[in-house]
């Protein structure tokens, strides 16, 4: 299997301006207290994400990668600049239910069974009961949890809970899936299995994914592009195309190209670091809010 033969086929869409799903232009985000700017979370962000892309945002704590994700999902608003999703303002896109959200914690509701948790967004969208049930089962089959419909979330393992959360996010067919360190709390083995699972779902559904992570191997393995960010102020320092062939699997992680790309992302991350790296990490921890 040669890299060049299949590589790039999925990233071809990025050059097609008409199929942009996310367009971020000149976005700044500052947090103010008592009218005084205390943190510049993001500065001069420009980013375009094409239909069907899998884009990872990676960077040190405090680089604003989660803030950037939340800006795309209209969970917070930019101080200046514009965020356009599917050709409309982010708020409109949210009201049109264009977003599926997956957080680091599964955020499942203990009083609902697994199936009822997946049905929740469908209830809000006003689907009738029959359609809700059919879709919930279909989604749980997609994440291979069809045998756990009547379980309650606390009866499942962390990885299984996160799969329910993914099923719920995909249930109403959003056009873009926003994932904020979804596997950060899982052990390495489970994380790799979940990575495989997410790729399988992505390939089957063709959904656009924006994925925030701390993990370089995870970002390289999953993505069609990796956006490298640096802290203080949060900026995009590099965008690395991941031209690994698809479908990716266990053996992908053993390819030379994979290691080259992991190294490239690591170098880009180090390049973006300020000189007083230790001090900035301390500050990043102190200002955990912008993580």
């Amino acid at each position: 299997m040669t890299d060049s033969a299949t590589g790039g086929s999925t990233t071809a869409a990025t050059s097609d301006a008409a199929s942009h799903v996310v367009e971020i232009r000149g976005v700044d985000k500052t947090f103010a207290r008592d009218g005084r700017v205390v943190t510049t979370a993001l500065q001069g962000i420009d980013l375009t994400i094409g239909k069907g892309e899998f884009v990872s945002l990676i960077g040190p704590s405090g680089c604003g990668k989660s803030t950037l994700l939340r800006l795309i999902g209209d969970l917070t608003e930019p101080t200046s600049g514009t965020v356009t999703v599917n050709g409309k303002p982010a708020t409109r896109a949210r009201l049109d239910r264009d977003y599926g959200m997956v957080f680091q914690a599964p955020v499942l509701f203990d009083w609902r069974t697994v199936e009822e948790n997946v049905k929740l967004p469908l209830e809000i969208l006003g689907w009738d009961a029959g359609r809700r049930q059919a879709r919930a089962r279909e989604m749980l089959e997609l994440v291979e949890l069809q045998d756990f419909l009547r379980h309650h979330p606390y009866q499942l393992s962390g990885g299984m809970q996160q799969r329910v959360s993914i099923a719920r996010a995909l249930a109403f067919e959003p056009s873009i899936l926003l994932m904020d360190e979804p596997f950060g709390a899982l052990d390495e083995m489970t994380r790799e299995r979940m990575n495989q699972e997410v790729l399988r779902i992505w390939e089957r559904t063709g959904i656009t994914v924006v994925f925030v992570t701390h993990s370089i191997p995870e970002a390289v393995f999953l993505s069609s592009r990796v956006v490298v960010m640096s802290a203080r102020p949060g900026r995009i320092t590099d965008v690395i195309d991941i031209d690994l062939p698809r479908p990716r699997g266990f053996e992908t992680r053993e390819q030379r190209r994979y290691f080259e790309l992991v190294t490239a992302v690591r170098e880009a991350l180090r390049h973006g670091e300020p000189r007083d790296a230790v001090g900035s990490l301390d500050r990043a921890a102190a200002e955990g809010a912008i993580g």
């Binding site: 969970l75 949210r94 977003y99 599926g100 914690a105 509701f109 203990d110 009083w111 809000i124 045998d147």
Partner: protein, 312 residues
């Protein structure tokens, strides 16, 4: 569907083990409870045996034969301050008055049921009021800041001072008693529900925001279900508080049929027959306990399937 049966079978033992463990702990809890009750009566008897006045047969006068002469004389253990529990039991099954058909227990049971109905009505109104207030406060910070101090202040006024004023305003009637029970009930529910309705994970609210859910949907689908454990904790406090409120209210309220009047009456005859007041107090406590357990049973039914529902 082979996978279904396999994994279902794999999970069965977990469920079975849980039920067995719950059954064992329930049995142990019942045993501990029983041991405590027996221990309490044993201690009572021991104190009477060590420091009471000479024991005489049930219903016999001071001049009759002595069964046991305690070695000490402790004031708190004399027959006025701490009657023999078997004398209280005997008084409960004796006629309430000379020549009456009704035993004291029957009379107290009737009074207890009457008081419980007043308390339950106050409890319901108070719980509803607390729920409405908390819902308003959670959705409006300004109103919360303006009004919660008054809600708190309302509870610093002694109910014995307030009860006559309520009776004066609403007349000596059951209505006044219900209002007093409501007054004691709404507070714990308000405070607990402000907390409970705010208890969902901020990300749960962001999730709802990403679904473009309305405030109403967020309330019914996230805030209210998340608050139910808090609600039931408050309702259990409110259940006992409402009984106390009703009993206190019956005095100035001039309601003759409840436990409040019975307690006032027996209080006046304490010197000649302390057992009657003790009986009334025991029955009052029992009403509170039963009401508490009713709320607990509803809680178990409503919170079934949630983690930790069996505790508390």
């Amino acid at each position: 569907m082979a996978g279904t049966t396999a994994s279902a079978a794999g999970l069965q033992p977990v469920a079975a083990r849980r039920t067995r463990a719950e059954g064992a702990s329930r049995g142990r809890r019942a045993a501990i409870w029983l041991a405590l009750v027996v221990g309490l009566f044993a201690l009572w008897t021991l104190v009477k045996a060590l420091g009471g006045v000479p024991w005489r047969p049930i219903g016999a006068g001071p001049g009759s034969e002595m069964i046991w002469n305690p070695p000490f004389r402790w004031d708190f253990a004399n027959d006025l301050n701490l009657p023999h529990w078997w004398n209280i039991a005997a008084t409960l099954v004796a006629p309430v008055q000379r020549g009456a058909d009704e035993t004291l227990l029957q009379y107290l049971a009737g009074a207890a049921f009457y008081t419980w109905r007043e308390a339950a009505l106050g409890f319901l109104v108070g719980a509803l009021l607390g729920l409405v207030l908390a819902t308003i406060f959670v959705h409006n910070r300004l109103l919360e800041r303006a009004l919660v101090p008054y809600v708190v202040a309302s509870q610093t006024i002694p109910i014995v001072a307030l009860a006559p004023m309520i009776v004066f305003a609403f007349g000596p009637s059951v209505t006044s008693v219900v209002i007093i029970a409501t007054y004691l009930t709404f507070f714990p529910v308000t405070i607990a529900m402000i907390r409970g309705l705010r208890s969902p994970d901020p990300r749960a609210l962001e999730l709802m925001r990403s679904y473009a859910a309305s405030t109403r949907e967020v309330f019914w689908k996230v805030r209210l279900p998340a608050s139910l454990p808090y609600l039931f904790t408050a309702l259990k406090i409110a259940a006992t508080a409402s009984i106390v409120g009703a009993i206190i209210g019956e005095g100035p309220g001039g309601v003759p049929d409840g436990l409040g009047r019975a307690i006032i009456n027996f209080n006046q005859y304490y010197i000649t027959g302390p057992e009657k007041l003790w009986g009334a107090i025991l029955v009052s406590a029992l009403v509170g306990i039963v009401f508490f357990m009713i709320v607990r049973l509803v809680e178990l039914a409503v919170l079934r399937g949630r983690p930790g529902a069996a505790e508390g």
